[in-house]
C-alpha cells in the first residue's frame, strides 16, 4: 500500500535518518496503519466543515503588555544549547555562497 520509495521520501521530508531495515519496518507498519485508516473513505463528509480544535470560539487577544520580560529565561535556556558562543546559540550556516 506504500512503497519503500515513498517511505524514503517521507523520512527525508521529516528530516529523519533511518537505516534500510527501519525503512522496511516502517513500510510494513505504515501499510497496516493506512489500511486501517482507509475505513474513513466510507464516511459521508459532504457539506461538513472540518473541526480544527476546541469547542468554544472566543476572543483571545491578550489584555495589556506582554506578561514576561523577553530576557527572563536567557540564562536557564542558554546553558542548555548544544553549542554556544557568548550569549548566542550557535547554529550551522544555512546560506551558501
Amino acid at each position: 500500500m506504500i512503497s519503500l520509495e515513498q517511505v524514503r521520501h517521507l523520512a527525508e521530508l521529516a528530516h529523519m535518518e533511518l537505516s534500510e531495515e527501519e525503512l522496511k519496518n516502517l513500510q510494513k507498519d505504515m501499510g497496516g496503519i493506512l489500511e486501517f485508516i482507509a475505513q474513513l473513505k466510507e464516511a459521508d463528509v459532504s457539506g461538513v466543515e472540518p473541526l480544527t480544535g476546541g469547542h468554544v470560539l472566543e476572543n483571545v487577544a491578550r489584555i495589556g503588555d506582554s506578561p514576561e520580560d523577553s530576557f527572563a529565561f536567557d540564562k536557564d535556556l542558554l546553558h542548555q544549547f548544544p553549542e554556544k558562543e557568548n550569549n548566542y546559540d550557535v547554529v550551522p550556516k544555512i546560506i551558501e555562497k
Binding site: 521529516a14 516502517l26 496503519i33 482507509a38 466510507e42 464516511a43 544549547f81 548544544p82 550551522p92 544555512i94
Partner: protein
C-alpha cells in the same frame, strides 16, 4: 501510618490537626518510593531534596500561623511531560535527556501556590504515544496489581505511583485516554477535563487540539479538589476558556443528588464493537444498573460515527505530532548529533534519527504522509470533517441526556509485551476514550469492580462522560457511585 488508607482529604486533616508534620509525611512517602520503585519503576526522577525543602516551608508557615494553600503538605507526582522549574522533563524520550525546565507550567505554579509538595517526575510513553508505558525510552512501569502486566498508558508511571501509594495524586495528560485508561488499569480515579478547562502552558505539546492536563487520585473527592485547584482561564494559554469556572466545585460534591432527575445515555455502539471483554461488559452494565435502581433514567443513545473515531484520531494526532516534534532538531535542546554531521540538514537527520524511539518515528512519518501534498484532502482534511461529525453526535446525544456512561477500556490490564509488535491493536486500546478527546469533552474513570485473571484481581474503570465544562456533575455522580461501593478501600497487594 498506613499509606494505603490515606487520601488527600484525610492527610490534610492530620496535617491541620498537627498529628503529623509535613516533613514527617513526606519522609514516609520518600521511604515508600525507595521500597517500591525497584518493583514498579514508576518514577524517572525522585525530587527528595526539593520535596523536603517544600515540606519544611509548609511546616514553618503553619508554625508561624501563615495562610496555607488547600493542598498544603500533600505529596504528588508529575508526569515527566509537565515542566517544574529546575527539574528534568524528558517526555519519556532520549531526545530530551539533559534538558531542565526553565520555568513552571501554570498547573505546577497553581499547585505551588496551594503548597502541595512535588515528589518527582513519573514515567510515560515517549511523547505520550502508546497505551501501556512500554514505549518509554527509559523503563517499563509495572501494574501494582500484577507486575507482569502493564499499568496502562501513557501516564502509566503516574497511575502506578498513585495505586502503589507512592504519592497522593499525580498530574498527567490525556490526549486520547492517557489519564483514564491507566486509571482503569490501576484501580484509581482519573479525570480528563474538557478541552479549554486547564492551562497547558508549560506542558510539552503533543497533539495540540487534543491535549489536556488530567489528574489521578485515589478518590473522586481528591480528584475534584486537585482539578478545582489547577483549572481555569490562563492568560498564557489562549485555548483556556472563560467558561472554565469551577470555584466551589469540591464543596458542591457532597450535595445530595436527585437521581430521579438524572438521565444517563448508554451508547448502543459501545457494546456492539467487537473486542470488548465479556467480564468488563458485565461490570459496566451492572454499574449502570446501580444508577437505575436509585431512580435514574437510562436511555439508549447513538453515536453513529464512533467507528471512524480511532482512524480519524490517529490521522489528526500524528499530523499534529509531526508538526510539534519538529522542534527537537539538535539546535536548541541539549541532545544533538552535530559532531557527526556536516551541514545543517545532517544535524536534523542524525539527531532525529537517533533521538526518537520507534513509536514517535512511526507517528512523525504518518503525520508527514497525511499532511503531504496529494494526501492532505483524502486524509487530514477528511479526518477533521469526521471529527466534526463525532462532535455533532455528542451534541445531539446531550440534548436528551445529562451524562453518558460506558467502559474506559475494552479489556483489563494486558501482559507486558502482548501488544508491542502490533501498532494497530495498541491504537484500538483508545476506542472508548479517544472519541471524548475528539469531541473536546470531559470524562472520568472511576473504579467499578474487578475481574480475575490468573488468580490476580485486576481493576476495571467505569467511564462517565460529561457535557462541555460540566465536570461538576460528572464528579458528583462519580463520588456518589464511589461511596455506594467499597472498591476504593481495596488496594493493590
Amino acid at each position: 501510618m498506613e499509606l494505603e488508607k490515606l487520601t488527600i482529604i484525610k492527610a490534610a486533616k492530620l496535617l491541620q490537626e498537627k498529628q503529623i508534620s509535613a516533613v514527617e509525611l513526606i519522609k514516609l512517602y520518600l521511604e515508600r518510593i525507595r521500597q517500591k520503585e525497584s518493583e514498579l519503576d514508576a518514577f524517572l526522577y525522585v525530587a527528595e531534596k526539593e520535596a523536603l525543602a517544600k515540606a519544611e516551608e509548609v511546616d514553618l508557615k503553619r508554625k508561624r500561623g501563615d495562610k496555607l494553600g488547600v493542598l498544603a503538605g500533600i505529596p504528588y507526582s508529575l508526569k515527566d511531560l509537565i515542566l517544574f522549574e529546575g527539574m528534568q522533563a524528558t517526555a519519556g524520550s532520549k531526545i530530551l535527556e539533559g534538558y531542565k525546565a526553565s520555568y513552571d507550567a501554570t498547573v505546577v505554579l497553581r499547585l505551588k501556590q496551594a503548597d502541595a509538595v512535588c515528589l518527582g517526575k513519573t514515567n510515560c510513553d515517549e511523547f505520550a504515544m502508546g497505551a501501556s508505558t512500554e514505549q518509554s525510552a527509559f523503563k517499563v512501569t509495572k501494574n501494582p496489581w500484577d507486575t507482569t502486566r502493564v499499568p496502562g498508558g501513557t501516564s502509566g508511571g503516574s497511575a502506578a505511583a498513585v495505586a502503589g501509594n507512592m504519592c497522593l495524586f499525580s498530574l498527567c495528560t490525556d490526549t486520547g485516554g492517557s489519564t483514564r485508561q491507566p486509571a482503569s488499569f490501576c484501580g484509581v480515579v482519573g479525570l480528563r477535563p474538557s478541552y479549554g478547562a486547564v492551562s497547558r502552558h508549560g506542558v510539552i505539546a503533543i497533539a495540540s487540539s487534543l491535549d489536556q492536563v488530567g489528574c489521578l487520585a485515589k478518590t473522586v473527592e481528591d480528584a475534584a479538589l486537585v482539578f478545582e485547584t489547577i483549572a481555569g482561564k490562563d492568560e498564557l494559554d489562549s485555548t483556556t476558556s472563560s467558561k472554565a469556572f469551577y470555584r466551589g466545585l469540591s464543596e458542591n460534591l457532597q450535595k445530595p443528588l436527585d437521581f430521579k432527575k438524572l438521565k444517563i445515555g448508554l451508547p448502543k455502539e459501545f457494546f456492539e464493537i467487537g473486542g470488548i471483554d465479556p467480564d468488563v461488559k458485565n461490570l459496566i452494565l451492572k454499574s449502570v444498573d446501580c444508577f437505575k435502581q436509585q431512580g435514574a433514567e437510562v436511555l439508549e443513545i447513538n453515536l453513529p460515527h464512533m467507528k471512524y473515531s480511532v482512524p480519524a484520531y490517529y490521522i489528526i494526532n500524528s499530523a499534529e505530532i509531526s508538526a510539534n516534534l519538529a522542534r527537537y532538531d539538535g539546535i536548541r535542546y541539549p541532545i544533538s548529533n552535530r559532531d557527526e554531521a556536516s551541514g545543517f540538514r545532517e544535524i536534523y537527520y542524525k539527531t532525529k534519527g537517533h533521538g526518537f524511539g520507534p513509536e514517535p518515528r512511526r507517528r512523525i512519518m504518518l503525520g508527514t504522509f497525511s499532511l503531504s501534498s496529494g494526501y492532505y484532502d483524502a486524509y487530514y482534511s477528511r479526518a477533521q470533517k469526521v471529527r466534526s461529525l463525532i462532535k455533532q453526535d455528542f451534541i445531539k446525544a446531550f440534548e436528551g441526556v445529562d451524562l453518558i456512561m460506558g467502559p474506559v477500556s475494552p479489556y483489563p490490564a494486558f501482559k507486558i509485551g502482548e501488544k508491542m509488535n502490533d501498532p494497530v491493536s495498541m491504537y484500538l486500546a483508545d476506542i472508548y476514550t479517544g472519541l471524548v478527546n475528539m469531541a473536546c469533552l470531559n470524562g472520568l474513570s472511576v473504579p467499578c469492580g474487578f475481574v480475575e485473571r490468573e488468580n490476580k484481581k485486576l481493576p476495571v474503570g467505569l467511564q462517565i462522560i460529561g457535557n462541555y465544562f460540566n465536570e461538576e456533575l460528572v464528579l458528583r455522580v462519580g463520588n456518589s457511585f464511589e461511596q455506594e461501593h467499597n472498591y476504593l478501600n481495596q488496594t493493590a497487594e
